[in-house]
Symmetry: C3
Subunit: 310 residues, 3 copies
């Protein structure tokens, strides 16, 4: 179906939901959930997955490695590769890939600059999976985000989704926005501090794909209307002053009261890690699905590896 997983614009509805030939990533992820809950299988026995991370990651790397193991594949891993590996000796990303492709059947890669995964895919003979490239994209995160929405709410067309936090730099936000542009009658509320708004090229893309979007700077302006609240972390160092940061926290954090004011069948997502943009008191709310979302990462990544290597 796809040879590399680089950006969400490449994901068609057939890729997600299947067609005559291909079962689709979402149905495959459901099968993978059954397999993972029981134990593991051997469909990728003899295959090797490399995780090459210029910067460390807990969720993405470990869930990919666990996914590979649960399918019977082996794993080789390089973490903090920017600091420690031959990249630190001046080797180009391309040269690294030209070597790695002989040691693994698939390379899951996090790179510190936008475009890294695309550069790798351009020359690699084995599938490249983008595990995050700087402020670029994080397409497998968006797949698991969307799978969680689909699994929890049963549909994506027609949903009202709030994207909250640092919309300027957040690669999970960018990837998800592109992906939501594939669906019908999606309505987006973009909630962020003034200095961290969604990039213009993504807004243009949304317009071209008939996504309704509106900009807000306070969560409470839209909280009662939305089906999905997609919260992200805003890093302190993005603000000019501590005062601005504190103010942003006040208007963008999800408190227990805010969560309770949401529609009864709405859900709260977060790519994690969270700091205090979702209060711990929200965790027991039935709308809180961010840990289920992290769990789903395993199943979606198993489905991707099966598709690319099976």
């Amino acid at each position: 179906m796809l040879q590399h997983i680089i950006k969400t614009q490449n994901f068609t509805r057939e890729f997600l939901f299947g067609d005559g030939k291909f079962e689709g990533i979402f149905r495959s992820a459901l099968s993978m959930r059954d397999i993972a809950k029981k134990g593991s299988c051997d469909i990728l026995k003899g295959k090797i997955v490399a995780t090459w991370f210029a910067e460390e990651s807990t969720r993405t790397r470990l869930s990919f490695e666990s996914a590979a193991l649960k399918l019977g594949a082996g794993v080789v891993s390089s973490t903090n590769a920017r600091q420690f590996s031959s990249a630190s000796k001046g080797e180009t990303l391309e040269d690294t890939v030209r070597v790695l492709q002989h040691y693994a059947d698939c390379i899951v890669m996090r790179y510190h600059e936008e475009g890294g995964a695309a550069r790798a895919a351009h020359i690699s003979k084995v599938p490249i999976i983008n595990g995050g490239d700087g402020s670029g994209q994080h397409p497998t995160q968006s797949l698991l985000d969307l799978f969680t929405i689909y699994d929890e709410l049963g549909a994506i067309d027609g949903l009202h989704v709030a994207l909250v936090g640092d919309l300027k730099h957040g690669r999970t936000i960018h990837s998800l926005a592109y992906l939501l542009g594939k669906f019908d009658n999606v309505c987006l509320s973009l909630v962020s501090p003034n200095n961290l708004q969604m990039p213009k090229d993504i807004l243009n893309y949304l317009n071209k794909h008939n996504v309704n979007w509106e900009v807000y700077d306070k969560l409470e302006d839209i909280i009662v209307n939305i089906d999905v609240l997609y919260q992200t972390r805003v890093q302190k160092e993005r603000f000019m002053s501590l005062e601005e940061y504190e103010q942003s926290k006040g208007t963008l954090s999800i408190t227990r009261d805010l969560a309770n004011s949401m529609k009864i069948d709405s859900i709260i997502l977060h790519p994690l890690p969270r700091v205090d943009e979702i209060r711990y008191s929200v965790d027991n709310n039935h709308r809180a699905k961010y840990f289920t979302q992290a769990e789903n990462g395993l199943y979606v990544r198993m489905a991707l590896l099966k598709m690319l290597l099976g």
Copy 2:
């Protein structure tokens, strides 16, 4: 038997030696030794063990990973997690565990603060094994320590054990002291510099459990009487002056002559790494069992993983 391995106070004699239902960790470790010497087995095939270490470790992490592999399980690993993983972005330990529990069937965890493993166990759906928590405990180390004593000397009741070194901060010392409190007629000699004596709460515990203990500041005062010399490393930075440190080395280090003055069937243990608190000239003494002890770590950890996941 146990769901998590957090502190040695939880270990009953039944846990160690078995009862009608449970074979006991020590007998299981002996079976594991047979398996490991021959190769491996598949009793944990399809299971995944995560090793999540806030601070790196050679012995504990690698022996747990080797133990998992020898039982047929897969391993995912995060090392220096305090510095590199999402913990460095402000994620709480609890959030990390809420995610990791979906990617592994068991989490072996080293944390830099006392109580870390207990906090993890409090919320985790999968077994947590404490691989060391700050100045807290290191229960699997104590299990292998005690297994080594049992395997070498045939009994634990009635032994005279010297605990030597930094008794104040040494988590292996603390864990072992609690564990020895479960046995009858154990006599403890506590040998340390003045400023690094055993904490009061452990002394109270020993009193309550009828363990005889006495405090010494020189090894030679007790060397001829003991059955087990448990030596530990004293870090230079624990002392006010280099002079104090050098003096402590003089009175606490095991030299060849001191080792030779020990009872013929006594043994010398050390959790390792050692620097110069056991001289290299002692290594060939038949009483030196610290490398056998490290070897036993593999078998005891195999037994623990089998118990928790088998």
Copy 3:
């Protein structure tokens, strides 16, 4: 055949090409290529390979780990061990090995000082493979270098080989020079900056083994005559001034024109990573074999692991 892989002086022609009893590493590597291209095998099932790297490595570590997995073995790994493991607490290399040997059936080791692997082999009960020891040797690199020459050119006797770059510190150069000394009528051109010439003891060895060698300081002096150009990276910090470094780059870098002036059936090798000592425009030249060489690393290391553990 060999118990440890420490230095290339130990490699006999029988070791490389086989005899009545032993098939030889090169023929074994060819079989391994077939296995690896199809998938994997189980001949080392139940075995564990430890990779213990004082300093990180991309190629050597990952290809050894991939090789182990492709033979069905498990892998435990410690990277940046000098900085993070118990070595940083003052543990000697010997003590580390005395422990590790119980957790693995073979230890692949990179050490930051010359002689590290030999020290390890001196006391280890399991095979030690030298994955690079400071400015010492890198014998498995030389095996894959020589295998590549043999596989591409069909013979080694009688070849004219240019060794280019930092001949003083380059451990891959040293290992290869010793190994080429085993062959007949080999002619070596030693091309380096003045301050980075081949050590005297290696020159003496070459003399003793009837290897013809000559010293040059410009690539173009020998480029049209050679069969193998073995290029290596020269680190900027080896020079007294930036001016000297730039001058060296001018006379030692392989450009497209220089590559085109080589004999039609000659080859260009490099242990990688490369910076600009081979221009990217050379990559498409049919003589460029440095990525094939990296690929061959997998097969040669599979052959070594099979020999030591099979």
